[in-house]
Amino acid sequence: MKADIRVALTGNPNTGKSSLFNILTGLNQKIGNFPGVTVDKKIGYSTLPDGRRAEIIDLPGTYSLYPKSKDESIVFSVLADKANTATPDLVVVVLDATNLKRNLLLYTQIADLKIPVIVALNMMDLARKAGIQINVDEFAKKLGVPVIPIAARKGEGIEQLKQAIAYANKVALQQDTIDVTAFAPALIAQISEEIEVEHPYYALQLAHQHEHLSFLTPAQSDRIESLEQEHSFHSQKAQAAETIARYNFINDLLYDTVKTPETAHHETFSNKIDHILTHRVWGFVIFLGILLFIFQSIFAWSSYPMDLIEALFVWAEEGLRSIMPAGILTSLLVDGVLAGLSGVLVFIPQIAILFVFISILEDTGYMARVTFMMDKLMRKVGLSGKSVVPLIGGFACAVPSIMGTRTIENWKDRMITIMVTPLVTCSARLPVYTLLIALVVPNRNVWWIFNLQGLVLTGMYLFSLISAIIVAFVFKFILKARERGYFIMELPVYRAPRWKNVLFSMYDRSKTFVLEAGKVIIAVSIILWVLASYGPGNRFEQIDQKYSSPEYTKSLAPDAFSRMVASEKLENSYAGMLGHAIEPVIRPLGFDWKIGIALITSFAAREVFVGTMATIYSVEGDTDNVQSLKEKMDSARNPQTGQPVFTVAVAFSLMVFYAFAMQCASTVAVVYRETKNWKWPVIQLAYMTTLAYVASFITYTLLK
């Protein structure tokens, strides 16, 4: 979509920037990528009062232009790179009116880049309530920019803001805030001249950040580096001096324009909540309780929509079969594409519910408290308090969780979190566990209220968390720290969740899951279909010939007959051959060639297991019919011994294998995307596969 003006939203974290973004753009938003980097770019469109279209870019929240994390590093790149397609014509700096001092630091930095700026003074309602008096006119006059008081949560002042965006100047008119050149006069002059930048603060920022800026050529970056050496420029010292100078400017400004009473009262309300929620005993009890509640809800609430989605696919598959002529194309569409699609879409309810909960926990400010409570514990095993959020998210899906690790500033903490997140029981393992548990664990109650099957499932979840922690602990000694880790973090005031934000976030993340995982799963389903539908040479014809003889057609019921044909064809297909080929390797784990096929196919996505099992055990009605698949697997016998194939030992060995193995192509892809180095996904794949093999072997040997 073409826009007449491009507007970037910037501001500190927790200033209501995303509320404003949602209100300005409504449902009209999408997630893209900034050119050259993997940080998500949230853009939306807004119609201005004069009828023009504005493209709104939501930049990650940051306290200053000096980045602390990967997410934040995008802000300066976007604002500064004149050639970038995302470079804005206008920046709206969102300031929290209840905490102007700290918020203004970022404003003064952006203003000095001399990009046209508008200030949105957000949370004016809260500021009024707290008795903070802001002389907006005087404030605007001193800064030299339009200042629009708004309350994004209540929708106040939005029209005025749009009006201001429409009237915004094409040239920057703001007052200078501080004398930037004073920090490194000669260096700034020389960079300005050689790299041809107009404004001194821009030159100074290049001096600070040139190593991370992709729009500079290597020669330019090297030149800046040598200029720094020449003028003995000390980045941190200059940054400290600049920050102090900026706060002096801000103090003067606020002294003249803002009156703040001594106490802010919603603060104490938050403190009262924290007395309970971060209590040394109740804090953990409540946290565990919330987790339990979330998992109960995921299973309880998702079953109905999941059944519905499955029913829908059964209906669609039957419909397609009845209107299309039987043949290869129909089979590909129904058994390949539709079966694959249903495998992805059926998880949407679970993932959506989990994301709703995670969004609520983040939006209310509770997640920050969890981080605060868990930091010491997590640090012992080489993680950081901030790893808790991705790990919990890993219960839904590792893909968005690994993307979420960008908020972890420290490289080592972030890498370890990425390495262990796929160990956490994600929703794709759930159907595998459910099927196998139903197969070998009796459905009865123990200790009055606990269901044995439920207990085993809970056990698998706990087991995954424990193994993630142990592996993290090992990585703590292997990986070398690149920089010091620190944990300076804002604890935002507790707020009621903004339901619109929660829904948007749920929608965004579910969409990411469907798109990221969906591509792979559909591709795999089609490949699997081809492998399972064709065999080398004329083996299939021979099978058809063999079964066309009267001894089979007469003595067997039609459906039993066709099942037998299908089974034998599968054994002789390419997939069957692959299964047979790896059988010697997996026999020590208790697996036969049929399970082998499922292992191969589910190396792309775990949930393919159930579908593959369904195909292999040739159940009519396809993957949706778990009950009959279960019965089929239950009665499966080893042709040599006559013993059941799925004994307790085999089922548990399989579950343990799925707990550890990296069977998710989407995760491999996202780990590469996030680390920009194939080394990491390869290490991850190798260690997880090894762990899976060894742990399965031990399980099978012990239970056999």
Binding site: S64, I244, Y247, R280, A368, K376, I488, P492
Partner: protein
């Protein structure tokens, strides 16, 4: 005296920082020389701590708090 030595509920005024890298991050977050800082809470496991400074709440590890030197006359 540094920030990590304060008990919950005690207040101090920031004097200086012993660590340049940390000081830059802290100042960006509004923790500046001359600001009054109050320890509001200690995490259940004894670390990190939560402090009130310049109108909002920050959490930081004790090790990080020990780089913030306070004026000695405060209680």
């Amino acid at each position: 005296m540094d920030l990590s030595q304060l008990e919950v509920g005690q207040t101090g005024v920031v004097k200086e920082f012993t660590d340049l890298e940390m000081s830059v991050k802290l100042m960006e977050m509004g923790c500046l020389p001359g600001e009054t800082i109050r320890v509001v809470r200690v995490a259940p496991l004894g670390d990190p701590i939560a402090v009130n400074v310049s109108g909002y709440q920050l959490s930081l590890r004790k090790l990080e708090a020990s780089t913030i030197i306070l004026h000695s006359t405060q209680n």
